[in-house]
């Protein structure tokens, strides 16, 4: 009998799906992923969530609920800190407990990462693996294999970004968390719209974490949120090589509202806009903003060409 583990297609899934899928695959455990975000999932999430939570958390609860009866377990990590002097946004700290208390009739698997207090990913995820495989050595091998696959995958993503940056044509950096950028309802329509209008999209996913941390210090020494540091790293690394920057923020995100403000003051010279997404968003408003942003970049490029010819 094969056990199945459900992976909600939200929050950290977009960062760690290769790690999780490879790990469970190596242990002969089948993974089931919730469908792409859709209106029904969002509506269910809104129903389950406390009003004040951000849209991504509402979507997350909708995805957890979508996996009910579809898998034996649902994996939700509890991420507190990934390095000393850093912290993850509170939603990653609370996701497990929020899901456990909000979504009825589910069995959760959790693992903790709190590097500041000596709790690391490897032993924690291995503990989860032992639920399915009593042979500890086999579980550790599965983890190490998954971790190297994850690194290989993210390195490839970074390379692909460099390839996009090397191409001619208009390039726009979209700064936003993976769980927003790659969500079917949040970031995807924006990325698709840009693509349809001939704009190459560079995402703020930046996987060289050591480099990201160094670069982030150039913008601010005090930002405590790990994933925001990665965004800052991407911004510093890419901003001179793109024609425009879009900050994608979901309402009401605390860390992002501070970060975006800080960044927009920093990127003087490169056209930039902030798009705030909420659960009631209208695509018409987004299109107006994106279209005019593209017009603006084109006007700037035309002028640069004229100035250059002179």
């Amino acid at each position: 009998m094969h056990a199945t583990v459900g992976l909600p297609r939200s929050l950290l899934f977009h960062k760690y799906h290769v790690l999780w899928e490879t790990f469970f695959g190596a242990l002969d455990v089948e993974t089931v992923t919730s469908p792409q975000s859709n209106r029904a999932i969002l509506a269910r999430g809104i129903e389950l969530a406390v009003d004040e939570t951000c849209v991504p958390v509402k979507l997350f609860l909708g995805h957890v609920d979508a996996l009910r009866d579809k898998a034996d377990y649902i994996l939700v990590p509890r991420i507190v800190t990934l390095a000393k002097d850093e912290t993850a946004c509170v939603k990653f700290l609370g996701a497990y407990d929020v899901a456990r208390n909000s979504v009825p009739g589910i069995r959760l698997l959790e693992y903790n990462v709190d590097v500041k207090n000596g709790i690391r990913q490897r032993p924690e995820l291995c503990r989860v693996g032992e639920t399915f495989e009593p042979n500890r050595r086999k579980v550790r091998r599965a983890y190490d294999h998954a971790a190297s696959e994850h690194l290989r995958y993210t390195a490839r993503l970074d390379e692909q970004q460099e390839e996009v940056l090397a191409r001619p044509g208009m390039k726009v950096l979209v700064v936003g968390h993976a769980y927003n950028l790659y969500d079917e309802m949040l970031g995807k329509p924006i990325v698709d719209f840009l693509g349809k209008n001939g704009v190459e999209v560079v995402s703020s996913e930046f996987h060289d974490t050591a480099k990201a941390r160094t670069l982030a210090k150039l913008v601010s020494k005090d930002i405590p949120w790990t994933y925001n540091k990665e965004l800052l790293g991407a911004l510093e690394s890419y901003r001179e090589r793109v024609d425009g920057i879009i900050f994608l923020v979901t309402f009401p995100c605390g860390p992002d509202s501070l970060m975006t403000e800080l960044c927009m003051r920093r990127v003087k010279g490169t056209p930039s806009i902030m798009l705030v997404l909420d659960e009631l968003q209208s695509e018409a408003g987004l299109r107006t903003r994106l279209e005019s942003f593209i017009d603006l970049i084109e006007a700037g490029k035309r002028r640069a060409a004229v100035d250059g010819a002179r």
Partner: protein
Amino acid sequence: MSKAYLGVDVGSISTKGVVIDADGEVLARSYLWTEGNPVRAVKRVLAELEAQVDGDAVEVVSVGTTGSARELTGAVLGAQVVKNEITAHAVGTLSRHPDVRTIFEIGGQDSKIIIVRDGVPVDYAMNTLCAAGTGSFLSSQARRLDVPVEEFGEHALRSKRPTKIAGRCTVFAESDLVHKAQIGHKLDDIIAGLCAAIVGNYLNNVGKGKEVLGPIVFQGGVSKNVGVVRAFEKATGHEIQVDDDGHLMGALGVALVARDSGLETPFSFGVRDVTFETVGEECSGCPNDCEVVIVLREGAYLDGWGNRCPRGMERVRERVCAQEGSLAGAE
């Protein structure tokens, strides 16, 4: 026959139209309320414009639409150009004020700032989730105070001591306004305070972090309110220019874009007499339940949007057309 170009700007509150000649001179202008029915408003604008142009001397060869109903209007008029209102406003304003460096714009439901340097728009911002400080906010406060919104400016100018009104949020502004009236502030002072609150809100939200340099042009419906104009001058320290045609800049801009597009198809004002109908329906083919809108011209499919996938459009189109067919058959 000389060539002319039509620009139509359909906003949430008002609908604007201009006909220009090849030099960008305005031959005809129209401005009226949308009243929640963009197609009817556009037809009325067309009637007003047609009455002002000499049909034997000029021929409209290209049409542009802008504003929040630009897509629908574009389909109805068979427009060559459908442009977002930010670009349209920038183009229109630059044609009249080539030296402008900042454009303030406050409309019925949105507000924006466009930063222009050396005749090229380089940056812009638009209000995000909140409509506080836009025209509809002023109108609703005017109703509460029982003063026609058109007279707000005069009242504000009479005030010597503007009352401080919390302008952060429409809901709070409203309760604050009632409170200030109850404790005895004068009507003129309250209205002046309201104008200042709008300006403060605009500069702190939409204008946040933007380098506001003169010359500044202020447009949109709210620019007709001298109280707000004065409040802007006080807050920025710059003279604020308000064009008599300020409310037409979007229409003018998109007419210019249509002219410069080089796309030409003879346009007939007769489109006024054609029956257009719009049908909005949820697809229900998948959990996304896209709201698909279909435009029918004399009962036949003309255009549609709102679908995330092509299947959605087909489903709704078939359903709607089948319905229309059965209705036609019953008659």
